[in-house]
Every structure is written in C-alpha cells, then in structure tokens.
C-alpha cells in the first residue's frame, strides 16, 4: 500500500507520519508538496500536524486552498482512506470534508501531553485493530482542539456512529469530549491526538500503530485477492 504525506509550509509532523508508515507499518510512503495537483498512484492520504501557513487567519484556513486540495477531495470522494491528524484534522474541517470547527482550547493553553482516548467505534477503516470501548494512550499537542459543532450535526454524528475517539477526561473543552470523527462514508478520519507519535516502544508507546495497521488490513481485504 502506498501513502502520500501532504506537506504544507509549516507542517512539522510530516516526518513523524512518514516514519510511522515506513518503519512502523512497513509500507510505501512519499511526501507530496502542497503545490502538487495530483495524488494518482497513492492508496491513502495523510495530512500531518503542524502549523500550516503559520495558522494565519485560522488553523487550516489557508492550507484548505492549496493546489493539492482538489486532489485530496477527489481521493476522499473516491473512497480512499484519508487521515488528518491535528492540523491535518483542522484542514479537513476547513475543507468541509468533515463537519464542525475548532476553537482555542477552553483554558487557552497549548496542551502537550499523553491522554487517554476511548475507541467509540471500532468498526471503521481506521480502528478495527482496537476493541470497542478500549482505552488507549495517545499524545496530544495543540492549542486549538476545542471541537465545536451545532446540536443538529452532533446528533447526526452520534446517530451515524461518526464519533470515532473521545477523550476519557475533559482535555480542551471539545463538545462531548470528541477527539476524532469520520465522514458519513467512513473513509475520512480527523483526530487531534497523534497516533503517529505512538508507533513503537522507543517512542514510549505503540498504541497508535493500530490506526495504521487497521488502514492496511482493510485496504488489503478490498484490494488484494486472497488465495
């Protein structure tokens, strides 16, 4: 399976994402610069964390209009797995690939620590490697992760099981402690915590690796003929 890591000016978790795929998962991965316009040949798209375009105006607001974004939207519409982490999640929100928006953390602090997440839905492309309701430890590092969504959309998210991860504590003021959501179709996931920073024991924790192994397993089941 071949992944693209989209690199915006100001991305700073692109290398973490790259090595999570190359060394953690053992699959192919390439950086794709934001000025490119095609994602042909890639089976999955990863939007990394960081501060794209300096977070000027709003997090993700300028990156959302990067030349590569129509190709990211095409990939999402064609059903390819698209994962946005942290700033990548913010870009997906701004692009309208996921509903809602991010505000400054409720206490206005940049939060950088490992938190407990609850796997709310393990029947997604990204989470079959976890148990339903499993608690996992994943690092967060963000100043604007306070997820906001109106009541009507929140009800829809819950009804369709689109809430994939919740914080097991009040981390940043997010509605319903939401940490990660997916689109209705189930192939686009945005999450504030960083699974790519938790893919091997040397990093202190490998509980994020299952996000990537889940993507791979699901891709193989639909793309590789079994003998």
């Amino acid at each position: 399976m071949k992944f693209a890591v989209i690199v915006f000016p100001g991305s700073n978790c692109d290398a973490d994402m790259y090595y999570a795929i190359k060394d953690g998962l053992g699959e192919q991965v390439e950086y794709v610069f934001h000025t490119e316009t095609s994602l042909d040949g890639y089976d999955g798209v990863l939007l990394p964390g960081g501060f794209s375009h300096g977070d000027y105006l709003r997090s993700g607001a300028i990156a959302r209009f990067a030349p590569i974004m129509p190709a990211v939207i095409d990939a999402a519409e064609s059903g390819k797995p698209v994962l946005g982490v942290c700033n990548g999640f913010q870009v997906l929100l701004e692009a309208g690939l996921l509903p809602g928006a991010m505000k400054r953390n409720i206490d206005l602090k940049f939060i950088c620590r490992t938190v407990e997440l609850v796997v709310e839905n393990n029947e997604t492309l990204f989470t079959t490697g976890y148990e339903q309701g499993e608690t996992i430890l994943i690092p967060v590092a963000h100043g604007e992760g306070n997820y906001e969504v109106d009541e009507e959309m929140l009800a829809r998210l819950e009804e369709n099981n689109q809430i994939v991860f919740r914080y097991n504590e009040h981390v940043n003021g997010s509605k319903q402690d939401i940490a990660g959501i997916m689109n209705e179709k189930g192939n686009v996931l945005g999450m504030m915590p960083h699974p790519e920073r938790a893919v091997e024991a040397l990093l202190g924790n490998d509980q994020g690796l299952a996000v990537f192994t889940s993507i791979l397993r699901n891709w193989r089941e639909s793309h590789v003929a079994t003998s």
Binding site: A61, A101, N105, I106, E148, G173
Partner: protein, 83 residues
C-alpha cells in the same frame, strides 16, 4: 479605490474562551460592569473598483475570511479618494 473593513466574531451561540478570560481579567481590575467580552478579528482590504464589489467581498468572507460554522462577519465599504 475602496477600503473594506471586515469584522469577524465568534457566533453568539458559541462560547468564546478568549473573551471569557479577558472578562475575568477586567473583573479582577474592578471593572465589574463588564457583562460580556467577545474577541474577533478586524481585516482591512484595499480593493480596486470592480463590478459586484459587495457580492465579491461577501464571497471572500464566506469562503476564506470567516468560518461560518462558528463565526459571523460584517463589513463596511468606504470609497477612498486618492489625495
């Protein structure tokens, strides 16, 4: 030439964490009459004369300058007479 002043604020229905913090600071300074603070953004655009100026500024606001999921915007248009 025109100067357009754009004001972007969080919607009334959305809690503004920065506004709450500033209100708290004003209260500690004994400005207890402050009932609410909302923090927003102010943008100034210089525009050439174009047709549909207001429509185009509205588009700019909705597409980029404001995130209408959580923010409201308004703008004033002033004609600038070159001196």
């Amino acid at each position: 030439m025109y100067k357009v002043k754009v004001y972007v604020t969080l919607r009334e229905s959305v809690l503004d964490p920065q506004g709450v913090a500033v209100k708290g600071a004003l209260h500690t300074m004994d400005y207890n009459e402050v009932m609410d603070v909302r923090i927003g953004k102010y943008l100034e655009l210089q525009l050439e004369n174009v047709d549909n100026l207001e429509t185009r500024v509205k588009e700019m606001c909705e597409k980029l300058l404001a995130n209408t999921v959580i923010e409201d915007y308004r703008f004033d248009v002033e004609e600038v007479i070159p001196s």
